[in-house]
């Protein structure tokens, strides 16, 4: 990969494509085991991020990596203070900070604490700091994720100005609109490999997406819509105008009993956000969720569970399992929570329920008292599913239910989804794997840049159609 001075390059790829690994190797956080990095014609090898900065490679991350409790000046001059008689001179530091802030077009009081400014300004301050040691290469890792439209424009005009000053910029993002509005060229990564570098102006959007997901649009014959368009059943869940600022644009969504609704979209498109807001794991600031005619209290998970909702989160390790607890304890959690802690489930009853679920979902575990952390990913996922099934939910929200599990378990989970649906449960399934979505989903909601951009029904559901609506 080559990057010229004064070029803005987009680095694109789905989750796990290797974007962050690439950046970490470039900045010396990870050691590379082959290849060389040339900067201005010289071979360089950064030892750590401090060293990389001295070499001229600076990185600004999505989460502003500054110290919120320190002043702007202190943040800007950390590790490079001006001294008088061996002691830091805050007068000089202040001057230097002002000069740096001027470079990014900020006119703020640098003696104030960093966290008294908005995220957008903090982001710009981080860029100012990145520029402080004569950076030649600036890496922006998803800088726009927490900014609103106006703030993004401010950032873009700064990027253009820096580009004119001869800086090379690598811009990591998953907002395709932004890629087309600001970058000169695009490098696509997939599964840890570079797919190629393209001129932004000469790469149609549809082609870019097929590079990212590894499938060409023409390869995909419209799939047959089997087991779809049944009789409309009773409405289970109604989401009306549900949204949260900087998180998800308000959306409407209905789910009927006996129906699987798929959520498709690229990474960061808002799939997970829809799941979290629908369940109430993140409190929405507008709109309402109605389940079986009951309006759910925003932010009360207990009311969601009691009304009959279940939720398997995307990050199973972090948000799903309690690794140290046994299979039985993990499985019983949701039921116990919905009953309240004052009425414990008798042990006999617990064992009976768990035994039944282990059999029903064919969970492979030597016994029910094994810590869940020692099970394989697929079996962990089944335990999480079982956790909700024993509460007899009417609606299950599954966020990436098949991520990181082997092919056999993958297949079984899809079967379970289909069975549950046949029994009359409503399901909302978010997945990055389009081929599996089109197998079980009756309807697919397509997300893009945190908007709902399309809803495909029955016969329309196909990989081809989903990709096309993302590309349009």
């Amino acid at each position: 990969m080559d990057l010229r001075a004064g070029e803005i390059r987009a680095l694109l790829g789905e989750n796990g494509a290797g974007k962050s690994t690439f950046i970490k190797v470039l900045t010396g956080v990870y050691e590379r085991d082959q290849g060389t990095i040339h900067l201005d014609g010289q071979i360089i090898q950064a030892q750590d991020s401090g060293h990389a900065q001295r070499l001229g490679i600076s990185t600004v991350y999505q989460e502003v990596n500054l110290i919120p409790s320190m002043s702007v000046t202190e943040n800007l001059t950390l590790q490079q203070q001006d001294k008088t008689f061996g002691l830091i001179s805050w007068k000089k530091a202040q001057k230097r900070a002002m000069a740096l802030l001027a470079k990014v077009g900020l006119d703020i009081d640098p003696s104030k604490q960093l966290d008294s400014y908005s995220i957008a300004i903090q982001q710009l301050i981080a860029i100012a700091r990145a520029l402080s040691n004569d950076a030649k290469l600036l890496i922006l890792d998803e800088p726009t994720a927490s900014l609103d439209a106006g703030e993004i424009q401010q950032l873009f005009s700064l990027m253009k100005q820096l580009k004119e000053d001869g800086l090379g910029i690598i811009f990591v993002t998953h907002f395709l609109d932004q890629v087309y509005s600001i970058t000169d060229s695009i490098t696509v990564l997939r599964n840890g490999e570079s797919i190629g570098t393209f001129d932004t102006a000469q790469l149609p959007r549809a082609e870019l997406i097929s590079h990212m997901v590894g499938k060409s649009l023409d390869d995909l014959a419209p799939a047959s819509g089997q087991n779809r368009s049944q009789q409309p059943l009773e409405t289970l869940l109604t989401i009306k105008n549900l949204g949260k600022q900087r998180f998800l644009q308000p959306i409407d969504l209905n789910i009927h009993a006996g129906e699987v609704v798929g959520l498709a979209g690229l990474l960061g498109s808002g799939r997970t956000e829809v799941c979290e807001l629908a369940y109430g794991a993140t409190k929405a600031d507008q709109g309402e969720t109605t389940l079986k005619g009951h309006v759910l209290t925003q932010g009360s998970l207990r009311s969601a569970i009691r009304t009959g909702m279940g939720y398997c989160p995307e990050d199973r390790k972090q948000d799903g399992i309690v690794a140290e607890l046994s299979v039985r304890e993990n499985m019983i959690l949701a039921l116990q929570a919905s009953r309240g802690w004052w009425s414990p489930i008798p042990m006999v009853k617990q064992k009976e329920l768990v035994e039944e679920m282990i059999k029903r979902l064919a969970i492979k575990t030597p016994d029910m008292d094994k810590p869940i952390g020692e099970l394989s990913g697929g079996n962990q996922q089944k335990v999480i599913l079982a956790r909700w099934l024993i509460t007899h939910p009417d609606l299950l929200i599954l966020d990436e239910p098949t991520r990181g599990i082997d092919i056999g378990a993958h297949h079984e989970i899809i079967q379970i989804i289909q069975e549950l649906c046949a029994q009359g449960m409503g399901l909302l399934v978010a997945s990055s794997e389009l081929e599996e979505l089109v197998v079980f989903a009756h309807r697919v909601v397509v997300m893009k840049d945190r908007h709902k951009i399309a809803e495909l029904d029955g016969e329309q559901v196909s990989e081809h159609a989903i990709l096309q609506s993302i590309a349009s």
């Binding site: 401090g50 590790q79 830091i88």
Partner: protein, 323 residues
Amino acid sequence: MINERNLPIFATLIVFMMLYGFGMYEYRGFRDTLVFTNLLTDNAFLIVTAIGMTFVILSGGIDLSVGSMIAFIGVLMAYLITSLGLHPLAAIAVAVLVGTLFGAIMGIIIAYFDLQAFIVTLAGMFLFRGLAYLINLNSVPINHPFVTALSDIYVPLPGRGGLTFIAMAMLTLLVIGIILARRTRFGMNVYAIGGDSHSAALLGVPVKKTTVKIYALSGLYSALTGVIFAIYTSSAYPLAAVGVELDAIAAVVIGGTLLSGGVGYVFGTFLGGMIQGVIQTLITFDGSLNSWWTKLAVGGLLLFFILLQKGIVTWAKRRTSPT
């Protein structure tokens, strides 16, 4: 405008002035400079320990070993002077070096083995206390002309007050502490680590090396406390300074330093230590109250300050969160 994070230290200053003002209003004797200089002398050992502790807490850590360190260094110093016949200056140098080294070792264990400071320094607390007993089981007087000369140094001030050697030593160490915290790269690194150690590493702060230095510094300051304490009492006792680590933590927190790190001032710690001293003095002046009332007052103040800090942090967060 006053920065909201500076509110705790202003609160500390106001509490100190109110307590002192109350004393001056209530008791004639309180108005003499003697009371103030005695405060400096009597609380010197607590304040010096607490200054070292401030750096530790600013970085988000804790050091429970300081009380034992004081006792150990005192006993070690007495042993070197009385049994080995070393000149006190040499004995002090050795003792301080040993204290700093032990602090650094704890720092290395915390930083490079990625262990919790609480546990590592708890182990240090038991070890140093044990080492103190290993050297000597009983209280040993230190009768050396040089030590006596040091404790006799006295700079009279207007009124009946005057500065003793240990008061001056404390004030010197305070100034060094303030400069170290606010005017050196090391100090800034300490604030950065306490503020967000992950970000600090990405900003190029040598987190591990700085952590070792922080605990070495705390070791140094508590070793110096051991020396000051030995001079103050002209003796060394392995059971000395039990629980001083907790008094020091209280002084730091009352001084406005956030226990989670990143925010606070060394000068605040000085005020925190002085407040504890003023409360004790007020109770002595009153005469009818038991000295345990000090603990009650300190406990109440501590509670007030952590609630105040929590309130300020929550308020600041709510103000800056996206709306």
